[in-house]
């Protein structure tokens, strides 16, 4: 056998071994993604065109009746579609000055510590943090204190205001981070140039700082908005039975009234809305500037 063929054989053997190793490395994650992400999604897609079995659960069918029935849960959709953007906007208004201070004004040696203090609450239990507000807004919290000074019968908990507050509290870190990242990367010389060219601080802020941080703003806004679309804990704990979201409708349909096909149709709609939000946000950000990646931790 000529030497060249032998070398080719061994090279092919190496290539095979290389591919085998790559496949082995990727196999567990692929299996996981397929079995617990792709297949479940296909399952609810199939369920959403099915019918509810008489005793609850699913019965095979091909109908769009579930989708046609979506208006039956219009209140949940309405609440979510109003309070999710409103909550994201409220978050943004609180988050921007904080991110601005951290990125451009805070003393260098404090910056990372302050940033860590912002991130830590995000990784602690949302349930426990929301519970803290139940405590504060509940009958024995602020209303009890206000009663001392003569303001009686003020109800704070179980209102949309309470839900909005809980949203800002829960998602503030997620909004601050991307804005901080985009402000931190801002070229300071641009600010000096703007001032040197006679721009007032306000027009420098509007024309340079705000403009260049808009991709971060968009990232934060879309992230918070998407997570809010699927929120369940905050409306349940701070909104009582009165302010309910799509998440509450899903819990009801899957765990209580067991109308799985209808629930699946709502879930698919929820995912579709999230995808639209993501695409729109992405379009806007890429138009504003090049894509930027943001670390959540």
């Amino acid at each position: 056998m000529p030497a060249g063929t032998e070398a080719a054989f061994s090279m092919r053997g190496n290539l095979l071994r290389r591919n085998l190793l790559t496949a082995l490395l990727l196999a567990p994650a692929t299996l996981w993604l397929v079995v617990f992400l792709v297949l479940p999604f296909v399952a609810i897609a199939i369920f959403s065109v099915g019918e509810r079995a008489p005793e609850g659960g699913y019965q095979a069918a091909l109908t769009f009746a579930q989708y046609a029935n979506l208006p039956a849960r219009a209140t949940a959709f309405w609440n979510t579609m109003v309070l999710a953007p409103a909550g994201a906007l409220a978050c943004l208004l609180v988050a921007y000055p904080v991110a601005y201070y951290l990125a451009l004004r805070a003393p260098q040696r404090w910056r990372l510590i302050l940033l860590a203090l912002i991130v830590i609450p995000f990784w602690t239990s949302l349930l426990m943090r929301t519970y803290a507000w139940m405590y504060i807004l509940g009958g024995r919290g602020i209303p009890a204190l206000l009663a001392y000074v003569g303001i009686e019968d003020l109800r704070l908990i179980n209102t949309s205001g309470a839900v909005l507050l809980g949203i800002v509290y829960g998602y503030l870190p997620l909004m601050i981070l991307p804005i901080y990242v985009s402000l931190e990367r801002l070229d300071r010389r641009l600010l000096e140039a703007s001032a040197d060219l006679g721009a007032t601080p306000v027009s420098t802020f509007l024309g340079v700082t705000l403009r260049l941080s808009l991709p971060g703003v968009m990232t934060g806004f879309s992230l918070v908005m998407i997570l809010l679309l699927g929120e369940y804990l905050i409306p349940t704990l701070l909104g009582g039975g009165k302010v309910f979201f799509i998440g509450n409708a899903l819990v009801d349909l899957f765990l209580q009234s067991r109308n799985w096909p209808f629930g699946s149709a709502i879930a698919i709609t929820l995912v579709a809305v999230s995808v639209v939000v993501l695409i729109v946000a992405n379009r806007i950000s890429t138009r504003l500037s090049g894509a930027r990646r943001v670390d959540l931790i």
Partner: protein, 270 residues
């Protein structure tokens, strides 16, 4: 602006501080602090249901985080070796695993698993020689798998970021010096990505330990700590919950600090 930032930090931390403070309250009421006491901690830790839920949560969080750290790291390494199209598909799936709302992950996993069990259980029963065939059901396994999905995606992204900033020259130098690929991996690559792997593990643990909504759907007959706490909150606020919330918050803060410290280690100085 400084005053505003201080106020925001107060807003972030005061409610937590209040829960911690009242977990040491001797009295029963939220509106007045009547003295220092650890009685609620004693009450919480002698509640068998709560302890059971805590043990379940610890077991589930440890297992899912270990699996996620292992499979996520392997995937991040594997992704370095495939072409752009395969990578794009994989990245899209990982992104979906992170971005799809927990409530949707929960219900879709519930639907898929229940449907799977309907098919598999009679099949198992027909194969089984005795009268008591094993029955697949929702429980530890389904919570671990559903939590692991998010965590694995998270680990893959964190480790992937670290891998992309890895100094290739070191790897080439190592193989030029006749190190086997395994030796190169063990002595060059692994030490450099280890902080990211550990950070990923800790964040995965924290995520699983804190998650309520996914577990709520796929827990079956099992109870995790957040599910137990949620149920007791629905029954009414008690100082016992303050005590358990304080323990959970302290544990999460500790883990996140550890994760941040690990991520900050050996980062090339800018």
């Amino acid at each position: 602006m400084r005053a505003f930032v201080v106020a925001v930090f107060g807003f972030l931390y005061l409610p937590i501080a209040l829960v911690v403070l009242f977990s040491f309250n001797a009295g029963h009421h939220a509106s007045e602090f009547t003295g220092f006491s650890v009685q609620w901690y004693g009450k919480a830790l002698s509640n068998p249901f709560l302890v059971e839920a805590l043990k379940n949560s610890l077991f589930i969080a440890t297992t899912s985080a270990l699996l996620a750290a292992f499979c996520g790291t392997a995937a991040a390494l594997g992704l370095q070796r495939v072409g752009a199209p395969a990578r794009a598909v994989f990245d899209a799936l990982l992104g979906a695993a992170i971005v799809v709302p927990g409530v949707v992950i929960g219900i879709s996993t519930l639907v898929a698993l229940v449907q799977l069990f309907v098919v598999v259980n009679p099949f198992l029963a027909s194969l089984w020689p005795t009268d008591q065939p094993p029955r697949l059901a929702l429980g530890y396994g389904s919570i671990i798998a559903a939590h692991g999905l998010f965590s694995m995606a998270l680990v893959t992204m964190i480790v992937g970021t670290r891998l992309s900033s890895l100094d290739r020259n070191l790897v080439e130098a190592s193989s030029d010096l006749y190190a086997t690929p395994l030796t190169t991996f063990r002595s060059i690559v692994l030490p450099q990505i280890m902080p990211a792997v550990i950070a990923g593990f800790l964040l995965a643990f924290t995520f699983s330990f804190d998650d309520f909504i996914i577990a709520f759907f796929v827990a079956g007959a099992q109870t995790t700590l957040p599910i137990y706490v949620f149920a007791s909150i629905r029954r009414g606020v008690t100082p016992e919950i303050n005590a358990i919330a304080t323990i959970v918050l302290a544990a999460s803060v500790l883990l996140v600090l550890l994760a941040q410290w690990q991520l900050g280690r050996r980062k090339p100085s800018p």
